[in-house]
Amino acid sequence: MQVDEATVRRIARLARIKVSDEEAKGLEKELSGILDWVKQLDEVDTSSVEPMTRVVDQKLKMRDDVVTDGDIADQITANAPMSEDHFFVVPKVVE
């Protein structure tokens, strides 16, 4: 089994998702199963293959570096769980 409980906890912390002890046990098995299954890609020789960066061959588009909107603070904070005077209210970040 390649994913142990410590790894599940490390990954969950990186992903900022709280997992209970019971969930961590189930995830060990599920994640290991999925990762074992994707390991079949090792059968493919990709030593001289470039990784795909885009499916449709097209030149990266350029645009003028100009302001296209603004003065929409009402809209930006409209869905905030907590806001005050166009500021997002968040938990204390710096002690």
Partner: protein, 499 residues
Amino acid sequence: MTDLTKLTMAEARDGLRKKSFTALELTDAFLAAIEKGNASLNAYVLPTPDHARAQAKESDKRIAENKARPLEGLPVGNKDLFCTQGIRTTACSKILDDFKPTYESTVGQNLWNAGAVMLGKLNNDEFAMGSSNETSAFGNVVSPWRRTGKDGKTSTDKLVPGGSSGGSSAAVAANLCLAATATDTGGSIRQPAALTGTVGMKPTYGRCSRWGIVAFASSLDQAGPIAKTVRDSAIMLKAMASHDPKDTTSVDAPIPDYEAVLGRGVKGLRVGIPKEYRVDGMSAEIQKLWDDGIAWLKSAGATIHEISLPHTKYALPAYYIVAPAECSSNLARYDGMRYGLRVNGDNLIDTYEKTRAAGFGKEVRRRILIGTYVLSAGYYDAYYLKAQKVRTLIKKDFDDAWNKVDVVLTPTTPSPAFAFGEKSGDPLAMYLEDIFTVTVNMAGLPGMSVPGGLSAQGTPLGLQLIGKPFDEETLFRTAQVIEDSAGRFPVPDAWWMKG
């Protein structure tokens, strides 16, 4: 008056043009059907009757003034992945809570600019992650289809409508809209269409703008329609597609009149049959469906060629690296600070962790964790880079095939619709639902599912057509030949309308 909800989109368009009925009458017929039938099917998570009637009235005004637009007065459903200005959009996740976008998706705006009427927001798997619509925070969508036993009796077992666009497929099959928007990341338009006897079209990556669509895996996501007929899906795609400066991956290419090619037939068309799709354990009915499709195209003048797409078996495992990786990155934005749910914790990180644990469902959490793992320090090359290299090979398989054939024909799914719970216990069994569809997303190609027959249990089966980049026209005219040969497959009994 005839039941207006049973009309195809093309028939409804004709009826409105001839003034056989008004846009408001048409919209009211669908709103009444939703009112009555949605409780059993759960296809809509938010019907929007007032909004629909206002749009329909505007359409009637324009029709009276001879200013009708291409989709004037035609009622459609909108998958809840598409942002709707001022109307709740959740991606069917708790984490978006009561989110009301302050803008409209480009695809949606294109439809409304063309005169279409929005009946409401349609259910889907949470963040479009699932193949059965069992992961939605609003509960399962029930397919309008039911199995028939060997004794000829209809079972009341609830079947899945496919996913992730299960609300779209169920609503179209059940006549709760003329057509619906949908999205497809690994098969989420084509698989639900196949399971409900509807037509699903996933265009080439870049054909439709992704702006304003809740992102799952950005290099794979693409919008398209689910509709009752091939013609209806051609009408819808023409309206949905556009070049959009707000999505740099949307392509600046002319959008053909897809309806104009429907009658062109397939004489001389070279149809590829990939031998790698003859997977072990393929059921006799899926094999027969495929053989029927081959025979129909052959008798319409196409030539049939066996081709090889050697990396087919690696598409699904590569997808389950690429899609979770991109999902873990895209879904990092749901942190409970700027919009959506917030669950307060002891400190900032605790708030993040509690919010995301409470807001995301099980399958979404699983995919974020897989994606975080494969992108974490020391694993990037072994997983993500490897998968993107395999993806190059999958695309090359198709590039080689296009030297020999113009279109590829396969079954859409390995099996007919299943009942709830039959596959949800095992993530890998569910992932295999997409085995025939996922290669198309990995290569960015257009793919279409069109009904081809019924299973032994009387439920629909779909045939998939895969085309060259931006050659949706060939898919539409080939699909039309299949539809003409196979016939249409309406649900035999509208049990959900009986209360």
